[in-house]
């Protein structure tokens, strides 16, 4: 049994004292040699910054003064009393509450429609997938133009069906919703891909069995398909929510948080405080607050999701 010999030799190798050669051949040495380059980068740019920004959130730290005195919980107290933070939280939550279910519903509907062998189906699928290839910046620029209040084509379509002209991104009451629309469009392809993959994993026999038992298409969908899609739905809702809570690119491009802070979301305010005002301490406190929000929301989703999620086998 040569295989067992090899295992035995490998197990013995790490402990064997001896020459430089055996040390280099040891599993300890190889292990560290293999992981060091990758792990060093992750420690330097991932682990160290996590601790550092936690420390910074208890300091008064900005570019103006070289000293960074500890100020206890002052940054977190400022966070609790800052009216813009309260607005940013509200906008972030409203955005997330609209964007996540919206994307999931559209993605599910299109995936169900596209989960069949009909003519032009690859064209339809490609049309949805294409939204995955566009960067958030390109997407935002196109949508700013589509929703331009003076020359935008959306206002033109509105005029065709007799609706009044809108200010869209220039209006404090509409801007956030325009950003919801553009980001849903941008994420449609992703949601379709996830749901299509899950739909194709459903065994045909189950659906046929339901049909034989007399279930109509809607009942089959409600009772068979939807429960079998629940792992994909849970994944999508967690993934989309994490991304929604970190919304930044589209806001930076289209409104810069305006008009009148109407689209100031948490990460935009964090960026503004960190790299426009250079209040590193306060910005770190916002970052940790965002992290907390993400953890809480994710845990809730998994807790609630577990009750509705069916795993096969």
């Amino acid at each position: 049994m040569p295989v067992r010999d090899a295992r035995a030799r490998q197990r013995r190798a790490p402990g064997r004292p001896g020459t430089l050669r055996t040390m280099v051949a040891s599993e300890h040495f190889s292990g560290w040699a293999f992981v060091t380059p990758g792990v060093a980068i992750i420690l330097l740019f991932g682990a160290v910054p996590i601790v550092w920004s936690a420390v910074m959130s208890f300091q008064r730290s900005n570019l103006l003064s070289p000293s960074t005195p500890f100020v206890g919980l002052a940054n977190y107290r400022q966070l609790a009393h800052d009216p813009i933070v309260a607005q940013a939280i509200q906008h972030t939550l409203i955005y997330t509450a609209l964007f996540v279910p919206g994307t999931m519903a559209i993605g599910l509907f299109l995936a169900v429609a596209m989960n069949r062998k009909i003519r032009f189906i690859s064209f339809y699928r490609t049309a949805a997938y294409a939204t995955m290839a566009i960067s958030t910046i390109s997407e935002a620029i196109v949508f700013i133009w589509l929703f331009d209040p003076s020359y935008g084509v959306v206002n033109y379509f509105f005029s065709l069906i007799g609706l009044p002209q809108q200010q869209f991104l220039n209006s404090p009451s509409q801007a956030l919703y325009v950003i919801v629309v553009m980001t849903i469009w941008g994420w449609t392809g992703f949601a379709v891909v996830i749901y299509l993959a899950a739909l194709q994993g459903i065994p045909q026999a189950l659906l046929e069995a339901a049909a034989i038992d007399g279930a109509g298409p809607w009942r089959t969908f409600r009772r068979i398909t939807l429960p079998l899609l629940s792992p994909a739905s849970l994944f999508l809702s967690v993934w989309l929510t994490i991304n929604a809570l970190q919304l930044f690119d589209e806001v930076y491009l289209s409104t810069q948080g305006g008009p009148l802070n109407a689209t100031t979301v948490l990460v935009y305010y964090l960026y503004d405080q960190a790299f426009q005002q250079f209040n590193f301490g306060f910005a770190s406190a916002i970052a940790y607050f965002l992290f907390l929000v993400i953890i809480v929301v994710t845990v809730i989703q998994f807790r609630v999701g577990r009750r509705f999620t069916h795993y096969r086998s």
Binding site: R116, A197, Y252, F275
Partner: protein
């Protein structure tokens, strides 16, 4: 019209009608799947932003600023493209983006394979603790680490190597040259591979590195392709970190260059759209050529979670 002609066709060839016993209960049958009635408008909505982007990019500046909008331009003004190129160095942005994305992908494939393999197969002192630390960083959003990352990158540029410092594209590569996700993803994949090949190669005297390169990596091609596709997309579309780390035009990547261009020419729509088309086309082309890979990779992240 088409709907009413359907029964007639069914009447001509009743024998070929498969669902004959159930036919009486059915209403008039469309000669095509009714799902087209949903999918055609849906595709139009999904593709319209692309179409409008293209149309505007070949309009004259005067046509673009007209209401109602000119849906079909009278002359195609392709000069917008050279004009945009003369205003901002899009070729440079593209080259920077490509260099950053390709280098980041290659670094990730090498470093994450090495680390992922060691975590999957070797027993070494501190393995569990080290792996736990890496998994912890996986959960933390970038916004938490970006301020210290900025300070560290600045320090590295001043004291160690200018090429990886602030305002150099190296600063966009080094922090992402290995990712916790990549290490975790490949480790999980390596663990599913049968160990026998590796063991017999070791018995035959191959070094651990040789085993990884000659035996394990060829078996892991699908996982490596997935990691490459996801890393490429991430790097190509990244905006926040370049926005923080880069200020000089000649070091900008496409998203940052495009955003800066938009900031400076926010009302010159024809120019903006021409620039936007040029920054979109390379990625769209790669995407269509490798659509299967991208779609499978994105679906894999979803299925891995389920």
């Amino acid at each position: 019209m088409t709907a009413t002609s359907a029964p007639a066709r069914g009447g001509i060839r009743p024998a070929s009608h498969e669902g004959a016993p159930r036919a009486p209960r059915r209403r008039r049958r469309l000669p095509f799947s009714p799902w087209h009635l949903v999918l055609i408008p849906a595709s139009l909505v999904l593709l319209f932003p692309f179409a409008w982007l293209l149309v505007t990019s070949v309009e004259t500046p005067g046509e673009a600023l007209r209401f109602p909008p000119v849906l079909t331009p009278h002359v195609l003004r392709f000069a917008n493209y050279p004009d945009a190129l003369a205003t901002a160095p899009f070729v440079r942005f593209f080259v920077n983006s490509a260099v950053v994305a390709v280098t980041t992908v290659l670094c990730n494939l090498v470093l994450c394979s090495l680390a992922g393999y060691a975590f999957a197969r070797f027993r070494f002192l501190g393995r569990t603790a080290l792996f736990a630390v890496i998994m912890a960083t996986l959960m933390v959003p970038f916004q938490v680490t970006m301020i210290p990352q900025f300070i560290i990158t600045k320090w590295l540029g001043v004291h160690v190597l200018a090429a990886v410092g602030i305002d150099h594209i190296g600063a966009l590569i080094l922090p992402n040259a290995a990712t916790a996700f990549g290490i975790f993803f490949l480790r999980q994949f390596f663990k599913t591979l049968p160990m026998e090949y590796e063991e017999s190669a070791r018995v035959d005297g191959a070094s651990r590195l040789t085993v990884l390169i000659r035996i394990v990596l060829p078996l892991a091609t699908p996982a490596l392709a997935t990691l490459a596709a996801l890393t490429f997309l991430d790097s190509w579309n990244n905006f926040l970190w370049p926005l923080i780390a880069i200020t000089s035009t000649d070091q900008m990547t496409l998203p940052l260059g495009l955003a800066t261009f938009q900031g400076a020419h926010s009302t010159e729509w024809t120019l903006l759209m021409a620039g936007n088309v040029m920054s979109l086309v390379p990625m769209l082309a790669v995407f269509f050529l490798a659509q299967r890979y991208f779609v499978r990779s994105v679906a894999a992240t979803g299925l891995a979670g389920t």
